[in-house]
Amino acid sequence: MLSRRIIPCLDVDAGRVVKGVRFRELRDAGDPVAIARAYQEQGADELVFLDITASSDDRAILRAVVEATASVCFMPLTVGGGLRSVADIRSMLQAGADKVSLNTAALHDPALLEESARRFGSSCIVLAVDARRTGGNGKWTVHSHGGRRDTGRDVLEWVREGAARGAGEILLTSMDCDGTGEGYDVELTRAVSRAVSVPVIASGGAGNLDHLVSVLREGEADAVLAASIFHFGTYTIPQAKDHLAAAGLPVRRPRRLPRES
């Protein structure tokens, strides 16, 4: 059975992880490669690197980080933040990313989704959508530029268009819930999940493990993205998987091979 995925997200600024990761076993809390390796050890299902500065100088640094990570982590890696062109996407995929996420660039030029999906395959192209509620009647609009600008576009229309143009997955962030620790926007996630046939990753608002369960079950998400609850060591990935499994959700338990003598 296909497992629901748990995906830690690392915010990377000039090659360093910000929003400090507090793993006891890590000497350098800002080293993305060490953190990626620690999450692989814990059995995370995928990783997302979000480049939060995205200036052109930092892009080269991020590329080096992706290369270094991909040489020690044999797990799916998505890179997003500031990618604008087919050349940007190709550069990240060549560095070792498996998928790229597009946000503002896709809003600005939706044909970028088609072109990149045609070139690299839909399975490599993630559409990242920052959604905020408007009024109280189950409507959300898409925000661009890291959430700073309201495009006025309806979220459900945009995800349908994005999937039709070739996005193979939707990374959906609720701006209302992000950073609150009070839970994901279950209603938004369910609406998006039902609007498209591609997988949906829920993001924004995780504060405890019940939040993961509700957005996967009631929100019908295929995967959950979380940052602080894992980075700060509040919960480990195995604890999260235990909790999901106890709630009847399929999860992957990595089977460890005994070392050969």
Partner: protein
Amino acid sequence: MTATGRGRSALRPRVAVLDYGMGNLRSVARALEHEGAETVLLERPAPDGQWDALVLPGVGALGDCMVGLRQSGLDEWIRRWIGEERGPFLGVCLGLQALFEHSEEGAVAGLGLLRGRVRHFPRDRGLKIPHMGWNSVRFTRPEDPLAARLEDGDQFYFDHSYYAEPEDPEVVWARTDYGLPFASAVRSGPILATQFHPEKSQELGLQIYQNFLHPLLPTPNLHD
């Protein structure tokens, strides 16, 4: 032609990773290197006799893949390699689909090395497509050395919208359920091909690369 290995060693099997412009080849090369191979990314046929194994990776559209293989002449090279059984061959993801005769994806002809066709997952069953994430695999030949240390139910990472439907049930090496049971790996003669990505499947995936390379790796020499 780009050498990605860590230097030529007489003891390391030399593996050609075919690069026809599709997808993330580096992870495949890194996984092979992790398990003891030296890899070379090949964009076109190179003189025979210097390769111990051939790997055809790839993500993306099969139509573009086949165009890339034909334009580079790699299609004939692969056919000869397999036809003359020159050594082990591994196909990954698109590299599995390309082995079949025909695909619904753009109605393209594949290499035709295995009989059967490639189909889209059914659109009318409420399935999320692509089939993306970790799913479990049942091995049809657990005694096969290529399946060494793997168990039924082991999970691997998938990311695809099309699956292969081999005509000959004998070639099915592993099965996975997604709306329907499909061939998640095939094996025939020198060919092993997986629909999932072993290079993205952590320890169990690396085990597949280890099993694939095992016959090529030097046996420990007691006189050393």
